[in-house]
Amino acid sequence: MNPELLEQWGNLGINGLPYQIPIHPNLVHLTLGLFIVAIAFDIVGVLFPVEKAVFKFLAIPVTRSALFDVGWYNLLASAIVTFFTVMAGVFEVALAAPSADVTSAWGLHALETMILHGVGGVLILTLIVGMTVWRGFQRYQWRKDMARQVQWSYIAAGLFVFALMFVQGTLGAHLGAEFGVHVTADRMLQLGENPNQL
């Protein structure tokens, strides 16, 4: 962002944020954890006939519909949380001031990484919300009375989003751990200070 605009904040920390640790990466825990586990439990639900013996062997009582409940409620929570994840991400990327001369492990500069991560974030939010609507139709309308609550194509779409999330997550990791965006110690080193002063 324009350095003069940044100055209007007045009390930004060394990390470039008005608070100690960035919020976006912490909300990402919720988005990814909830989404991945939602799809994982739908897969477990779909493959239930195969796994019955395993659950019996482990002495864990299980009903197929409960596995799909996890798939649904976790996905719903992920869809809601992800709006806040994207919101926090937009705010914090606006305050990012990475150096221009660094290249990431994927050969990208900071600006390209930030743009791809931003576009990816909105894309994944759209896909999560779309899949939640799709999942809701399967659960409450199309497959209401079926033992297997989700379509194979839904599982495939979930796995595709996993792949997108891997790319998105790596880009985000590059922003923090390679470009040092909002990392206090990295900013201090850039200013020629010793992080032991922290």
């Binding site: 990466p25 990402v28 954890g33 409620y73 923090g176 040092g180 990392v183 922290l198």
Partner: protein, 221 residues
């Protein structure tokens, strides 16, 4: 033992490019650097790594990259998604389920807890490897120690809460007991504290970020 006793920090630094420049309590030679006085279990790993890399099959371990890792990026912060999100969502579902008397949410909560319990042990394994390879500089050591101790403690607490939940679930009671709810809220609180400490290590102290790894290789201690 004589040669091992010589393993001063500088000796590590000059003798091997990658696994050399760290300093902590070494389980083989008992060398302890000046600032490292506490129980960071994780720091034992790279020393083993270093010692064994000199002699045995461990010398075939992959070299460390610019994050000081043998693989591209940190894995621990990824695996902890499945502890943080699942524990917090489980407790959330318990509370909503308690007040709305929706038994479906109790099942959602149980499966999330079970998933979190498996995940926490995997995240501890990666946490130990990455804490060990972090070569923390003085300012970050105490945070890393607290994060390590709380992480191991949480594995025990989470396993106990999940076991307790397993028994409650077998009893098929319509409502959760209040002591259980209290314990799970406490668990959620500890998870939040642990997440905060981990965030400090990454976003304030910058462990495993390239600029900090560069500085440590250049002598920051």
């Amino acid at each position: 033992m004589a040669s091992v006793r010589n393993c001063k920090k500088e000796y590590f630094r000059t003798s091997q490019v990658y696994y050399s420049n760290f300093c902590s309590c070494c389980p083989l030679c008992f060398y302890t650097s000046s600032y490292q006085s506490s129980i960071v279990f994780g720091n034992t790993i790279p020393l083993f790594y270093w010692h064994y890399s000199k002699k045995s099959v461990f010398k075939y371990l992959p070299p460390l990259n610019e994050h000081n890792l043998p693989y591209p990026d940190t894995i621990h912060p990824i695996v902890v998604h499945f502890v943080i999100a699942m524990v917090l969502f489980a407790v959330f579902c318990d509370l909503i389920g308690y007040f709305t008397k929706n038994p479906k949410l109790y099942e959602v909560s149980w499966w999330n807890l079970a998933f979190a319990t498996v995940s926490i042990f995997i995240s501890i394994i990666f946490g130990q490897i990455e804490a060990g390879l972090a070569e923390p500089y003085a300012a970050s050591v105490s945070t890393l120690n607290v994060h390590t101790v709380l992480g191991w403690s949480l594995s025990g607490i989470l396993a106990i809460v999940t076991a307790w939940r397993y028994v409650i679930r077998l009893q098929e009671k319509p409502q959760l007991p209040i002591p259980y709810l209290a314990a799970s809220v406490l668990l959620a609180g500890l998870v939040c504290i642990q997440t905060y400490l981990g965030s400090l290590l990454v976003w304030v102290y910058g462990l495993h970020t390239i600029p900090v790894v560069d500085a440590i290789r250049g002598g920051l201690s």
